[in-house]
């Protein structure tokens, strides 16, 4: 049983429904500091709703979500700024948004500026170091519209990292990213987790990716179907039930 202080996210008996059919029912789980969690589930299984609950874009209709031990609305501004969020595949509007990489990464600092302050030297330094970490400092003056899918994804990560987050949440991070960049991308995420102890939570419908990358797997299809270290989860037959297909190749390949 982990210490209370190690728990970074806890959900207790959370249910959500938009129409008559529930999207999520009675979800309870905890995520500890430093975990690398893959949230897996079929399309329409409630993954995105779950992630929106975790980042406070939705509030639970029933049950309780706590981040850093508090409900989302009680978080201070500085606590909120340490939640790095990378939304699902950069939408069309953002791809051709007329701004440079540096401008976008710097914009991650806007929430912590107060009401009248403009960017200062420490903001620029933070943006620079985030770009360096994400390996995109040489792209700093390029327009977003000229980048590849993999480069764009790194820009979004760099923006999320500009406040030195303790928690990074990513929604389908590698949709529309080619295979080579995808591998480099997960290598980078793993480094953040192992070297900096950053808690990583990512959502994916891709069993292959989750099985290869995450330490902990959380399967959601309306209810919480499984939750545990990835080896244990993959050894069981829950995924077969959820997806209705054989997964032995994945488990054996690793």
């Amino acid at each position: 049983m982990p210490k209370t202080s190690d728990i970074i996210i806890s959900m207790r008996d959370v249910s959500m429904q938009y129409t008559d059919t529930p999207v999520l029912e009675h979800l309870s789980f905890r995520i500890n500091q430093g975990e690398y969690v893959g949230i897996l589930g079929p399309n329409g299984g409630g993954k995105t709703t779950l992630l929106k609950l975790l980042v406070g874009m939705l509030h639970p209709q029933q049950g309780e979500v706590k981040i850093f031990g508090k409900p989302f609305r009680d978080l201070t501004a500085s606590e909120r700024s340490t939640i790095g969020f990378v939304p699902q595949r950069i939408s069309e509007g953002r791809i051709d948004f007329p701004a440079t990489v540096a401008e976008v990464v710097l914009s991650g600092r806007a929430p912590s500026l107060g009401w009248t302050r403009r960017y200062r030297h420490d903001d620029l330094a933070a943006a620079h170091s985030a770009m360096e970490q994400a390996g995109i400092e040489q792209l700093h003056d390029r327009l977003l519209g000229t980048l590849s899918g993999g480069q764009l994804q790194r820009v979004m990560i760099a923006r999320a990292m500009v406040n030195n987050p303790t928690l990074l949440l990513l929604d389908e991070p590698t949709v529309g990213v080619d295979a080579a960049s995808q591998e480099a991308f997960y290598g980078f995420i793993k480094e953040l987790n192992q070297d900096q102890g950053m808690t990583i939570i990512f959502v994916s419908h891709d069993i292959d990716v989750v099985a290869h990358e995450a330490q902990t797997i959380l399967c959601v299809n309306r209810t919480l179907i499984c939750h545990g270290p990835s080896r244990e989860v993959l050894a069981g037959d829950v995924l077969e039930q959820m997806y209705g297909k054989k997964l032995r190749s994945i488990v054996h390949g690793h």
């Binding site: 874009m57 948004f97 701004a99 401008e103 914009s107 403009r118 960017y119 003056d141 519209g145």
Partner: protein
């Protein structure tokens, strides 16, 4: 050549014109990048209803126009978020609704002379000393607000979701932009005219975006284009006796065409 500045009314026109030339694209760029270009046009039509109220009651047209545009901006924001109506249809409803209202109000005010065409298309001779003070003061307020909020407005324009997660008051900032847009529309009626202000908020911005610069440089370039359009438009309309708004917008259109041709792939 410069006897134009001997006339008080031309000095006033230039004063008001420069103020508007700066704020129109500054707000416009935040509307354009979010694909809200048509909001400025809708608010422009709404401002007509305000001018019509002024014609009926004999109050200051800029003030009544500003009150109606700001109220409409609130209405548009509320409808877009609280009800299940497509954004575009909300704009269409406000645009034609206010046009209908103005046609009736202007009809009622017949006899009390209002130069309708000067309201629609701008007229440099109608800027009173009081108007200039009002326009310049409010333009400074708008500029200060935009400068102070620039990082936040940028963050929200680029990515509402993440801005919200990180604690920015997204809805408040959206409302601020709408109110500033509504104010600028009303301020620009005298110089550019109620029907053409939308163009001054959009055209210099779209022209600047053709040059593929950073967001901040695009904004500077848009202001430069806008100043060029307003200043040369005022000169031309004075010497050739043309409607100022139309001349200004045609020069803005030229800057856009020029930018488009120069940046052809």
């Amino acid at each position: 050549m410069f006897e134009i500045f001997q006339f008080d009314f031309m000095q006033r026109a230039f004063g008001a014109g420069i103020a508007i030339a700066i704020i129109a694209p500054t707000i416009g760029i935040f509307l354009v990048v979010r694909r809200f270009s048509l909001i400025s046009d809708t608010l422009a039509h709404v401002s007509l209803a305000g001018v019509a109220v002024a014609a009926l009651t004999g109050t200051n047209a800029i003030l009544t126009a500003m009150i109606t545009t700001v109220l409409a901006a609130f209405g548009i924001e509320r409808l877009r978020f609280s009800r299940n109506i497509f954004g575009e249809s909300v704009l269409a409803i406000f645009l034609s609704g206010s046009l209908a209202l103005s046609s009736i109000l202007f009809g009622l005010s017949r006899g009390r002379a209002v130069g309708l065409s000067s309201i629609l298309f701008g007229s440099i001779t109608t800027v009173s000393p009081g108007d200039v003070r009002l326009i310049v003061t409010l333009a400074i307020i708008v500029t200060v607000i935009i400068l102070a909020l620039y990082p936040k407005l940028f963050a929200v324009a680029f990515d509402e979701e993440v801005a919200q997660v990180n604690g920015l008051p997204v809805q408040l900032l959206n409302t601020v932009i709408m109110i500033l847009a509504a104010m600028s529309v009303a301020l620009a009626i005298r110089i550019v005219g109620a029907l053409l202000i939308g163009a001054l908020m959009v055209m210099p911005v779209v022209a600047a975006l053709q040059w593929k610069l950073s967001f901040q440089k695009s904004l500077w370039l848009a202001i430069a284009f806008s100043l060029l359009a307003v200043l040369s438009g005022l000169f031309i309309s004075y010497y050739w006796d043309l409607a100022s708004g139309g001349t200004i917008v045609l020069v803005a259109l030229l800057t856009f065409t020029f930018s488009l041709v120069m940046n052809r792939r």
